[in-house]
Structure formats: C-alpha cells, structure tokens
Amino acid sequence: MTTLNNLTDFLLNWAILIFIVGMTVRLVRILRYPYKKDLSQSKGDPKYGAFYALTFAMLPWKKESTKKHWLTYMAGMIMHIGVFAVILFALVKRLDYGVELMTIVVKWIGPVALLLAFSLFIKRATLGYMKAISNFDDYFSNLLVDFYLLAGTLTAYNLEWVGLWRLAAILLLLWIPFGKIFHMLLFFISRVLFGLQFGRRGVIKHGPPITY
C-alpha cells in the first residue's frame, strides 16, 4: 500500500497536467470550427431558448424520455451526483476543509452511485440494442467511473485505500480528454446550441405548454 501511495502521489500531478492540456487542446480544436450567424428571420428568442435548454428543459417532468424511463434517468442522475461527490471529496481533502462532512456524504451516496453506475454497465453489456450501439469507449469509460467511485468510497471508509483512489483518478484523468467522458464539457455547448436554434425558431417559447 505504501509503495502504491507514494507512486500514485507522484503520478497524480502528471495526470492532472496531461488532463488539463488534453482537455484544452480538444476543446480549442472544436471551438475553432465556424459558428455562422443565422441569416433567417428570427421568430423567437434564442437566448431564452438557450436558458431553457440548460434549466427547465432538464427537469424530469418536462421530458417525455425521463418520464418514460425514470429508472434509467434516476440511475444516471445518482451516478453523476456520486461522481461529483467523490470529486468534491478529493478537493476538500486537498484543501483540508470540510473533510468530515464530505466523508459522511460519500459513505452514503458512494455505494448507491456505484451500484447504479455498474447496473448501467450491465444494461449496456446485456441488452441487444445497447450492445448494438456500444463500442470499447462506452464500456471502458463506465468501468473507469465505477472504479473511481469504488476507490473513493472505500477511502471514505478507510484512508488506507487512498493509493487505489489516486490510481483510479489517474486513469480517469488520462482517459477523459480522449474518450466519451469529454461530454462533461461538450454537454453544455450542445445544450446551448440546441436551445439557440429552437428558441430562434419559436419552438421553445416563454411558458410553453406541457404537451404529453
């Protein structure tokens, strides 16, 4: 354990550096593609569309898909909350502030998030339609997140696992700039682009009726 702790402590800083450089390069490369001014006559409010797309449109009762598939939606939401909790746990440990509170939070949410995240992996690996749309990245990214959740949760229960947690963080940091977890940044750009166009066309309006 001591060897792993020492090794990962050293490698983590390099992983963070590679993560920052990788994320920046990929993001800048994408942002350099043109976004042309829309020359059609506007019918609605693109800014409201973007605001709506990032806020109210994400509410579970606003989307048919979340209403129909609330179990998958909840699994996904709790998995993401769990990941953010474990990341926050890492940050507070570095800052040595609020560690006790986050330890309790991760002890509670970590196991649930891990269970649900792994259930999504099982779903992908077993259901025919999920297998048909999946590639290595889909499985690998899920497993890396599961590993990070597992190691972070174990550390919340016993600090001796910190080396394993760092190892999970290193692997995750090295993979994110190249794989699909990069959606953590592009998600917001995509939602804004969606909202701008649907707002401009008057599809998203102030106070739209619920239509299902």
Binding site: S40, K63, S65, F136, D137, L193, Y212
Partner: protein, 427 residues
Amino acid sequence: MNNTQISDALNLLESKLSLPLVTYLETCTHCAVCADSCHLYHIDEDPIHIPCFKADKLRRVYKRNHTFAGKYFPWLVGAHDLNDAELDDWVDSVYQCTMCRRCTIACPIGIDNSLVIRTSRSILSAMGKAPKMLEEHTDNACKTGSPLKVSKEDFLDRLEWFEEELQDELNDDDYEIPIDKEGAEFLFIPASLEMMKFPETIMSTLKIFHAASANYTFSSVRYDVTNYGVFNGDDVATKSIAMKDIEEANRLGIKTLVVSECGHAYRALRWEAPNWLGMEYAFEVKDIVELVQEWISDGKLTLDSSRNPEKVTYHDPCNMGRNSGLFEEPRDALKASVNEFQDMLPNRENNWCCGGGGGMLSMPEYEENRLASGKKKAEQVRNTEAKVLATACANCQMQLGQVMEHFDLDVKVESVTDVVANALVLE
C-alpha cells in the same frame, strides 16, 4: 470507390464541419434514450433505427479523421475508415430517417441527429449512392422545375380549371386568378403533390385568398415549391431550387412569399435557405396556415364552424412544428372552423412523426417500413376518436391517408385550409 472518390468524400465532410455538427459528432454517450423516441424504432425495435446508431455511421468516420484517439487508436473509440463497403452500409440507415428531430427533443444532450443525417446524405449523394427515385425527383426539379414533372402548361391548365370552377361557385364571371402580377403583396407557390393529388387544397386556398381580398399572385415560372434536394442530400440542387424561388420573389417585387402546406419546403425556404445561400431576404416567408390564422384573427374571414360538425384532431407536421415553431397557428385556425377540436397526445414538439417525411414517400424500397412506422400515429389518432384528421403538409396528408388505411381507421384526412375553407362563408 477509388482513392480519389474517398478523398472527395472526406473533403466534403471537412467542408461541412461546423461548431454545431462537430459538437453533435463528439458528444453522444450512446445512452439510447433516442431509441424510444423514434417512430421507426417502434416497428420492430431493430437497432438499425436507433437515431444514434444512424448518426454513428458518420460519427465513426469523423472520429477516424478528426480526433486524436480515432487517428491513432481507432478501436478504442469505434472509429472507422471510409470505404465503399462502409458507405453501402450507411444507405439503409441514413435514408430510413424522416429527419423529424423527435430524437433531438428527447436527447438529454440535445444532439441534432437530423443535421448529422443530412450531412451523411450529402456524402452519399455526392458518391452516387442516393436512392434512385430521390435522385430522379431531384433531377426533375432541376431540369423541369418540378419533381413530378408538372410542366408550365399543365400548371396553367390546372389554374384555368380552378378559375372556371370558382367562377361557377362564386357566381362571378369576372373572377380571375392572378399570374405573374408584379408588385402583389403575396406570391403563393404551391407544391406539385397538391397540384396532382390534392387539387382541392389549392381550391380551398384560392377561396380563402378571395374571401380575404388578398393581393396575391401565382408565378408561371416557379409553380412548385418542393425541394427534393433537401431529402436527397444534393447540396447543389438544394441551393439551386431555393435560389430560383428567391429570384422569382425578387423579380415580382412581392412582400411575402407564401409557401403552400408543404412542411419541408417551408422549413427549407424559411430557415435553411438564407444560410445555405448566405443571404438575407428582401421579403418575408410565411406558410399559408400562418396567413389564414392572421386573417381569421383580423376578422377578414367569416367562418361557420357548424359546417364542420365532426370531431377534428390535428397532426403537427414535424417540419412545421418541431422545426419551425408553428404550433398554435393551425390550432387557432381549426378551432375557429370546427365544432369540436381535440388534440392528440403527445403533441406539438413531442408529436409523433407520421413516417412520410425525409423523402420516405419517394423511396419505394422502404414502403413497408414507412407504413409500419405510422403505428404510433395511428394509435394517437384512434385515441382521440376524431373523424377528421387535419394536417398542414401535403406530404403528411399523403402518408396519413395511407396510414389510416393500413391500420384500418375510418378517419378522413384533410388539409387545414380544406377545413377552414369548408367553414368559409362567402358573400
């Protein structure tokens, strides 16, 4: 395909990459939420109809050529080289899509699969792999001005017939249909499908123009507003067809170009063409239903809703509703014209596609799936117990008529202007 052709296809892709397209190509997490939102997937739950599966055809080629992981470790991220077999594999997936964007509304990330499919079709079309009838219709539109080869003489004959019919109905021998009238307020361009299959819709429109005392004109040069290049993915044809409409509107000096009840033509002219052509219009573009609703609202049309006593429901054409925000205009027009109106559920931006869009009506090789994909729509209509199904798109009208028959529903399918015109009190 030789190396030059592959290179051409990749260059075409390169030229089409924009911030939205690249974002949508890079962001999909394959969560499969889009599967359930697609009417085609509900036929038999074949993965070929999952929207992200269709989009992945282009996505994996994009990754192979434009991402670090795809270039050096393609198997890690599912990246593929572009070759003949790969493109052949695209065809069934990419063309069996109505580009209705229901999956975009459902997608947690907001990915516009329609844009990805449109780009994929452009590449297939440029490589000569578009379905044959779509190619033919697009060629016809470029050469004769009409995908269904409606000639100028046919069109003028039709107008003459309409004129005589309306002279009788209005009991007015002086009634004339204006053609090529410079300085008119409105230029109305119909769709060839209406001219050939639903001439009553043109008659209804003419009655409404007459009742509203509208200063309008037809054009003897541009008499078919459909743009098959949109379905086919042929960019050159798409721009060329749209440009001819714009030039004619400018030549006649009209204030508003009025598109008939043709969803894709409205979407193309209203929202897409200014960006394809890099120009702002000197005139407005409106759908006929928008105008009808305005005239009802302004009290220009006198309506007797008792003339439409049966329960009416409304199908939102995807290109008019989800893609153009025309939700309330047709509903307001219908509510003013019928005794009983009932919306189907879901509706507006969540409405189920009828299955006839995206050129599906012009691809006989997919007819079986096209009709089967109307299952969700048929269920919706059945649940309303309506006797009349109104819609604002000739393409949808054609498909819905066949879907009602296919699923054994005794429901009459009409255009919105037909329903309004039926309630019209002509003095």
